[in-house]
Each structure stands twice: as C-alpha cells, then as structure tokens.
C-alpha cells in the first residue's frame, strides 16, 4: 500500500532501494582494479580539458621511462584513433577507445579495450580519458590514481570553476610551463593557489612535455605510487586476499559479467 503520498492505493508498493545509481560501474571498476593489482600494474586515469597536453605528456613520459618500464595506454576520444597512433609512435602499446558521443570513459569501456591490449606485460597503464573537465571525474575506472593535466593557457582559476574533477585528483600536472614567458597575465603561483583551494590533499607539479622540465618529478611520483602499490599488494597476497572467480584464467581471458 502506498504510504508515501497519502493516497492509500493498495496496488502501489513503495520500494526503498538504497543503491548508488552508478553501482554497476563501480562493480566494473572493482573488477578492473583487481586485475591491475593482481598483475602489479599501475593504472593511472589521466584527465583534463581537450588540448591540455595529455597525449604530449604521455609521449614525454615514454621518453623518460624508455628501457626502464613497459608502458601502455588507452586513449579515449569521441572519434579517430589519432592519439593511439601518436602514442604507438612513441613506443607506447596503445589502444584507442572511440566513444561516439559519450563525454567520458566508464569501467566497461576500459574493460573491453583491455581485451585488445597486451596489458599483462605492462608496468604502467595510462588511461587517457576523453578531453573534458567535468564528466570523466564521475566514473571510477579501476585506476590506482587520478591525474589531471591542466595547461597554463587554460587560466589561473580553472580549478575554482571546475572543482569536481580537482576534488578527485591525486595529482595535478600543470603543463606547458614553457609558455609562461609568453603569458603575462598568468602566474604559476596563482594556479597552485587555486588548486590548494579545491583539492583535499593538494599536490601539483609544473611540467613541460616540450622541454622536459618537471618530467623527472612526475616519473618519481609514478615510481612512488608503484612502490606503494607493490607493498600493499604484497601484504594482500600474504593475507590470501580472495579474487574473482576467474582468478585462475590466463590474463585477459575470463568470462564477462554482463
């Protein structure tokens, strides 16, 4: 009987679901995360505006890590595989995710794309999200960390205008700092200040993919995250953490859950 609006209709049954709307995505993200942790793969969700320099950053990262880590990338865009081709040219094992009209990646898109990438041989996986400073922040993909690329040309107050993504960021890479001399109205410290107002735990690095400035710091940050994951995973192994039912399947081969 309906007791919520007072109509008393006996055919109406109010149902209290108490479920997060994106719980299905969260299940998918947990599934991806288990795979990543199980293989000791550091997965980073790279977000930022279109043109912030996400792809250039990954190219610079590949140059810096050449011979030291095997890296792969999933490149999300509405159309074209241009980024995946650029990344492949930079010796990154890359697969594109073309979303059609979707403004973000979700866990199932990442999961599907992983079936086309030899990800189990990788040390680092960068998931280059669709260029967008809003929507990608809402969807967990199973990553170990969120990194936002914010270029100096976007203005000092972008973090204040688009706080949602910066709330979720573990690290912000302030990119294109080599352009600062040409931008008299932009001061790096003002960008850092904006970030400190919206990030719960503010961490940022100033980088230039063109000159290589700051890339060493970024690589050091990656190594630290990798070390943290490895030690946490070692503990999980000792504790005999239970995995999904397809744990024993070869990497990348397992039954799908819808």
């Amino acid at each position: 009987m309906c007791d919520s609006c007072g109509c008393g209709d006996t055919q109406l049954v109010p149902v209290d679901v108490q479920q997060r709307i994106l719980s299905e995505n969260e299940r998918g993200a947990a599934h991806n995360r288990h795979h990543f942790v199980d293989r000791g793969l550091l997965a980073i969700n790279v977000m930022g505006s279109p043109g912030a320099g996400k792809t250039a950053l990954l190219e610079a990262t590949a140059r810096a890590l050449q011979g030291r880590r095997v890296i792969g990338a999933l490149a999300g865009d509405l159309a074209t595989d241009n980024d995946a081709r650029r990344l492949a040219a930079a010796c990154i094992r890359a697969e594109s995710i073309t979303t059609g009209s979707a403004c973000h990646l979700d866990a199932s898109m990442v999961h599907h794309a992983l079936h086309h990438l030899p990800w189990h041989d990788l040390d680092y996986l960068f998931i280059e999200n669709v260029g967008n400073l809003v929507c990608p922040a809402v969807y967990d993909l199973g990553q170990a960390a969120n990194v936002v690329v914010l270029s100096v040309t976007e203005g000092e107050d972008k973090p204040l205008k688009y706080p949602v993504m910066f709330h979720k960021a573990d690290l912000v890479l302030i990119s294109k700092v080599d352009l600062l001399p040409h931008l008299p109205g932009i001061r790096l410290e003002r960008i850092v200040d904006s970030l400190s107002q919206v990030m719960p735990d503010p961490h940022s690095l100033a980088v230039s993919s063109t000159t290589g400035a700051g890339i060493d710091d970024w690589v050091r940050w990656l190594h630290e995250r990798e070390a943290r994951m490895t030690s946490a995973h070692g503990t999980a192994r000792v504790a005999g953490a239970a995995g999904p039912s397809h744990h024993s399947h070869p990497p990348g081969v397992h039954p799908h859950h819808g």
Partner: protein, 91 residues
C-alpha cells in the same frame, strides 16, 4: 553531459527492481543527489523526461532530493560555509 548515462544506469536499476517485484508500472522515482556528485539536477531531469518515453517509467515523475556537502576545516575544526572551496576563511 553525462546525465544521460546516469539516467541509463538509474533506469536499468529500476527495471531490475520492477522485474524482481512483478511491478507493471512505475509511478514515481525519488533520487538523492549529493552536492559533489558532479550531477546537474536540471540536466538529470531533462535526461529523465527524454529517456522514460515508451518505457515502464513513462508516467513516473522524478523527485530529486539534493544533499548538501558539509565542510569542516581540518586545521581548526570549524564548519566552512564555502561551497566547493576547501579553504577555511578563519585560518
């Protein structure tokens, strides 16, 4: 504009609930939205009106309950009234 995929996920969960309970029609849907969820209430309602046509939810009205974020300064413990800005005016 990710509200359409939010509505898709909401719709899928409603259909699953309806199937479990043998419901023929959905009359009303009530959703709680957190201030920091990154979901725009107006866009969500628009997406819902578009999406529900010719579905079990065709006649269902959506009611949104907005849940405000509460801020407390880590340093001084005072509640911070500033929306979206994580810096204490006192400190």
């Amino acid at each position: 504009m990710h509200e359409y995929s939010i509505v898709q996920a909401l719709y899928d969960s409603i259909v699953a609930q309806a199937a479990t309970r043998g419901a023929a029609t959905v009359h009303a849907v009530r959703v709680r939205i957190g201030e920091l969820s990154g979901v725009d209430p107006g866009l969500l309602e628009t997406a819902w009106r578009t999406f529900k046509v010719h579905t079990i939810c065709e006649d269902a009205r959506m009611t949104l309950e907005l849940v405000p974020a509460r801020w407390v300064c880590r340093r001084c413990g005072r509640p911070a009234p500033v929306r979206g800005i994580r810096r204490c005016a006192e400190c």
